[in-house]
């Protein structure tokens, strides 16, 4: 028989009576950095588990894209005409675009892929999209190193703009990628269609940024309406990457910047970063509104 409750000691709990697992959204994610670290480690080892080439897939993908674009767009279609060092232009664009598409794609799958945890344990669900973004950021490091080495061999002269451009581009993609990962991972729980839609969007993104072709081509086609193209934050991030890496490997950087980069790129970049942060806040609001339905919809 059970001992009566009045015969047992009662633990004094020094905590307020509060709803269990209260969630402050992204703030909770950064409060619980150790858990985030474990999830990132898990995803790094898990993203390419059961594959022989493993993490190399993260490089094979952009590398094959590089070869195809270089051959067909550059050589056969002639996109590299009138451009110095087209391969670096292409590669720099691919590095940052791949960071975005990897964040977007893996982030969208992140909630569904961790349903075993989400159905049983209480934790900030924002952890998973954020972890996906950080894993993609981790994969960006070697790609960037390769880019730097290629640039150095091509006679690179970094300027004061190199590091701030690079960091601003990363900031844009991190904020926008996390915002989209939050919303799409949530949507993907309710309708699996969103996972498929992301693949299509990803394809359009590659053509919507100055990577295979220079920005001057858009200016030539759109004239004074080229600003519409710059409303795309990813296009701004890619242009910042071109400013950081490609401009410095051309024989006459100042002329290259004047010809192939938009005026006021800094303004566009900062604007894109601001917009991405606003979108991140909106994404958090949407996520918080619907996240309580996630566990029951994960089947």
């Amino acid at each position: 028989m059970a001992t009566g409750v009045d015969e047992r000691p009662v633990r004094i709990v020094d905590a307020p009576l509060a709803p269990p697992a209260e969630n402050l959204g992204l703030l909770s994610v950064f409060k619980r950095r150790y858990l985030l670290k474990l999830l990132v480690q898990r995803e790094i080892s898990g993203r390419y588990s059961n594959s022989i080439l493993g993490v190399f897939w993260s490089y094979i993908n952009p590398l094959t894209q590089f070869c195809v674009y270089w051959l067909f767009m550059g050589k056969i279609m002639g996109a590299d005409k009138g451009m110095d060092n087209y391969p670096v232009h292409l590669f720099a664009g691919l590095v940052i675009v791949h960071f975005f598409t990897e964040t977007f794609g893996a982030g969208t799958r992140s909630l569904l892929g961790n349903k075993g945890l989400l159905k049983k344990m209480a934790m900030p669900k924002e952890m998973f999209p954020v972890a996906s973004m950080l894993v993609s950021l981790y994969h960006l490091v070697p790609a960037t190193l390769i880019l730097v080495v290629v640039c150095l061999f091509s006679g690179w002269t970094p300027t004061w703009e190199t590091v701030p451009s690079f960091l601003l581009a990363l900031g844009i993609v991190m904020a926008l990628g996390t915002a989209l990962a939050l919303v799409f991972s949530l949507a993907n729980v309710f309708f699996r269609d969103f996972g498929s839609a992301v693949n299509i969007l990803t394809n359009y993104i590659r053509f919507g940024v100055p990577m295979m072709y220079p920005f001057s081509m858009i200016e030539g086609a759109l004239g004074d309406k080229a600003w519409i193209y710059l409303l795309n934050p990813i296009a701004d991030a890619v242009l910042l990457f071109q400013q950081a890496f490609w401009v410095g490997v051309t024989p006459n950087p100042e002329e290259t910047a004047a010809t192939h980069l938009p005026e006021n790129l800094w303004m566009w970049g900062l604007g894109a970063f601001g917009v991405s942060l606003v979108l991140l806040v909106i994404a958090q609001v949407v996520f918080s509104k619907h996240e309580n339905k996630i566990p029951e919809r994960l089947t």
Binding site: D6, R8, P19, R32, M121
Partner: protein
């Protein structure tokens, strides 16, 4: 012991469930094609049902409460709301202090990670730091008795091994509220015995225990109060024996003594009939 007596001890509220309703949407049709066909045939596209319907109760710190009811009566949903995995559609759930435990026989593990890595991940989700996990790690491993399997992915574990590990992590968390959902449904007899003893130890240390079980014997042994759910509604809240009687568990009305024997057998088998 009844709720009234527990209140007399002056213990603080540990779990407050107030007017809680949880609806689930059952989706019959998910694609546009299916929805169109259903609409044309005049069938329902989806319907909702109340997994929990206006449930209200309070559990004091240190109480050990058995949560009983038939399959699908809302026991696991209630535990998910208490643990914070789910949130109620209406009403309020409030808890005090750290919560640990098992929901629906399994812990939240990642199938690709080894048992060892999952111990650290699981503990981190409960809010433990790396040092705190390292401090309980040996106890968790010894209790789970998984041997070499600890280094293989938990995806390869049997259901028994899986819940051994989950239970072992949960009981070694210094929780104020311990939730146990059909923990004895899997696992062999020696392990069940160990689990029961561990849960009694938790209960006797003044922590709140919510124990879901169909085994009347083990509820009698563990709990001093029973809450019964029926189709999402709270239908009984009070004395253990009365609660078990209320549910007519394992009872053939004509044979009261047979029922008693069964309970005694269940007691000795420690819920082996779960």
């Amino acid at each position: 012991m009844t709720l009234r007596q527990a209140q007399d001890t002056g213990a603080a509220d540990s779990i407050v469930v107030d007017g809680v309703t949880k609806n689930f949407t059952l989706r019959y049709h998910r694609s546009i094609k299916d929805i169109t066909v259903a609409k044309m045939k005049g069938r329902a596209v989806s319907n909702t049902f109340k997994a929990l319907d206006d449930v209200t109760f309070t559990i004091k710190q240190g109480e050990s409460v058995g949560l009983m009811g038939l399959n699908g009566s809302g026991k696991s949903t209630l535990l998910k709301l208490i643990s914070g995995v789910m949130r109620p559609d209406q009403g309020v759930v409030k808890t005090r202090g750290q919560i640990a435990g098992l929901i629906a026989t399994g812990a939240g593990f990642h199938p690709q990670l080894s048992g060892r890595e999952n111990i650290f991940l699981n503990a981190a989700i409960y809010g433990l730091s790396e040092e705190e996990t390292a401090a309980i790690y040996d106890d968790v491993v010894n209790f789970a008795e998984l041997g070499d399997h600890l280094n293989s992915p938990v995806g390869n574990y049997s259901s028994g091994q899986y819940s051994r590990l989950g239970f072992s992590v949960a009981v070694h968390i210094d929780s104020d509220i311990f939730l146990a959902d059909e923990v004895l449904a899997v696992g062999d007899k020696p392990f069940k015995k160990k689990c029961m003893e561990k849960m009694e130890e938790i209960r006797d240390s003044g922590r709140t225990v919510v124990y879901v079980s169909h085994a009347a014997g083990s509820v009698k042994r563990m709990c001093d109060r029973v809450i019964c759910l029926e189709k999402g509604r709270l239908v009984f809240d009070g004395d253990v024996d009365e609660g078990i009687e209320y549910l007519h568990y394992g009872e053939d009305d004509a044979k009261g003594s047979a029922k008693l024997k069964q309970l005694e057998a269940a007691d000795s088998a420690l819920g082996a009939e779960v």
